[in-house]
Symmetry: C2
Subunit: 400 residues, 2 copies
Amino acid sequence: MTDEIYRASTTAPVNIAVIKYWGKRDPKLNLPTNSSLSVTLSQSDLRTHTTASCSPSYPSFDSLLLNGSEQDVSGARTQACFRELRSLRRNLEGQDASLPKLSTLPLKIVSENNFPTAAGLASSAAGFAALVRAIANLYELPSSPTDLSRIARQGSGSACRSLFGGYVGWEQGKEVDGSDSVAFQVAPESHWPEMRAIILVVSAAKKGVSSTTGMQTTVATSSLFAARASDTVPKRMKQMQEAIQIKDFETFGKITMMDSNSFHATCLDTYPPIFYLNDVSRAAIKMVEAINAAAGRIIAAYTFDAGPNAVIYYLQENEAQVAGLFKAFMGEKDGWKGTRGDAIQASEEAFGKMKGEVGVAVDLLKEGVSRVILTGVGEGPVETKESLIDEKGQPISTSS
Amino acid sequence: MTDEIYRASTTAPVNIAVIKYWGKRDPKLNLPTNSSLSVTLSQSDLRTHTTASCSPSYPSFDSLLLNGSEQDVSGARTQACFRELRSLRRNLEGQDASLPKLSTLPLKIVSENNFPTAAGLASSAAGFAALVRAIANLYELPSSPTDLSRIARQGSGSACRSLFGGYVGWEQGKEVDGSDSVAFQVAPESHWPEMRAIILVVSAAKKGVSSTTGMQTTVATSSLFAARASDTVPKRMKQMQEAIQIKDFETFGKITMMDSNSFHATCLDTYPPIFYLNDVSRAAIKMVEAINAAAGRIIAAYTFDAGPNAVIYYLQENEAQVAGLFKAFMGEKDGWKGTRGDAIQASEEAFGKMKGEVGVAVDLLKEGVSRVILTGVGEGPVETKESLIDEKGQPISTSS
């Protein structure tokens, strides 16, 4: 083996669940108490770019540089991903003695997000999906996205869904070892490419309870949680997959909103209660309700993860009545600029119908939303030649 | 029968539930989907004063004057109360021919609250309890408070609990006609007279969904509601009654907080979602959590009805660490004045422990709380000679 530098790079997407993951039946393996389903978002708007590299010339420890700052890789979750991937590589090396023994070399990983981490957007899903995909590329593993989802899940539960593009389920599974708790593609992005999303980034006074801590407190203390996991979600998983198959936005939207509310209801039913929604989040809900009332049907659907940011799904054909109205009512915000934002026009008819009743909500959004992100359904991880590590093994910064 | 004016007067209290009533199994009879439990609050702070009167000289229709304005009495709920009470009077008249036939005479009722209706405090409980108790007094009915609770329930569900003082349960009952859905006294106020309450009246931008509409939408759409009604509340009813019997404030407080959160969780799980708590309500929760953390145990317990106002229960012995801290942190508010408010001093030790971490919450409370009401557990309806109708049948205004 020479002192060669081995490198491979990928990008991976963020996903925003429409049926939420909340609660672990096994915290160590990140095995969930219920299945979940998400939409993978376009990587031109939100993605993690990761280069995995290994070399005999590297210092003898694994390292991870994220957005220019060194991360601790000693945590059980990162270690589980490294261990599983090395084990797969070791199997290959065992079968073919001509392969370089990459599994024995220290890993150097460099990773960058194309969105501000301060925005509070769940970046761990894209992060662990990119990490696992990049190392799998480096090791030239024949593993399928489903196989890799099993590994990424151990890094961060929802990361398993970012191994696929389009509409992605995560089967909770029954096995104790988690072998059947994997992601699967419900439909590729090409099946229903018209799905758009607007993200309202809400400036929170303070970060709320971490999702890892929060979900376990919910499982332990909420008297309503069991009904969600055992009855509510299984029914919705079925309905949601059907809605996606037949491209029925009204059902998709209604279940999305109901499931977000159900998740936050179990947070409120936790002791002590967990609040992720604030008055600005509620103003976004009010706006979506007014938009749907003006349209006479569900054309917009809100969902909230473990924070106050609103993600609002809609179809391209209704852009003027959804994104257009948010733009018209909220006025200047970072994110409306650029080709996509400039093209968005409001429906004047809907604006007229709504303006009498959304005054308070609009004031709250103007004050509380720091930026908007316009995006839509997108593809899964993409291998790239653009490396974040140069041929000498040094990190290359692409940050602006 | 002469043209005599028959009159009787009572006062009746407000009650604030610690296990919430939300959901009707029979909307017409106000039969609930779960039992509930409340603390009756002192009438020196919050009460309805009602005089019921009848006379052959009155115009031939029933009337109700509340705080100086004529009310519609044609609604099914008020009519049900009138009908049931007249029926009981008619039975008496049938048994004793010497009794004047009051059941045939028009009713004139005058009612006044000693608290601002604009405060958004649920006044319908005190209102219907006073109405039913005053007419029962007028008719000289031998009915027990339990019998009257069955009638008041038909006016407003939670009114049935205002027929008793102290700690009061409302048994959901099983009968179709509602005959076993009545209030009962868990313990009189003298059993645990140290229970105090501070009410933070929050200025809401707009009145939320009415509880009558809201609770039926919850029953129809929340997937988590059934578990609350069938499992959560029955367990808590038992625990709460035991806690009251043995005067265990920590259990009383914990269940109070959990049940308020459970109720609001089912509101959030309603479609479309119902929000009664706002950022000011959450600031009150944060303060209570900080107060309990500083004390190292539960000495304060928040609860919220169908609105943003916080009611915080505590024991007299902890006044400096509960009401005192709210006073010290919030500063000048309408309601701190007067003998009771002036006497309240903050615990300096607790103030010091908390001040570093409640800044944001304190700002929200200062801005969003319009007044405080200091009160405590109190007695049930009290007959009074002070009449709101003079000997000529004319209303007397006592309003300031």
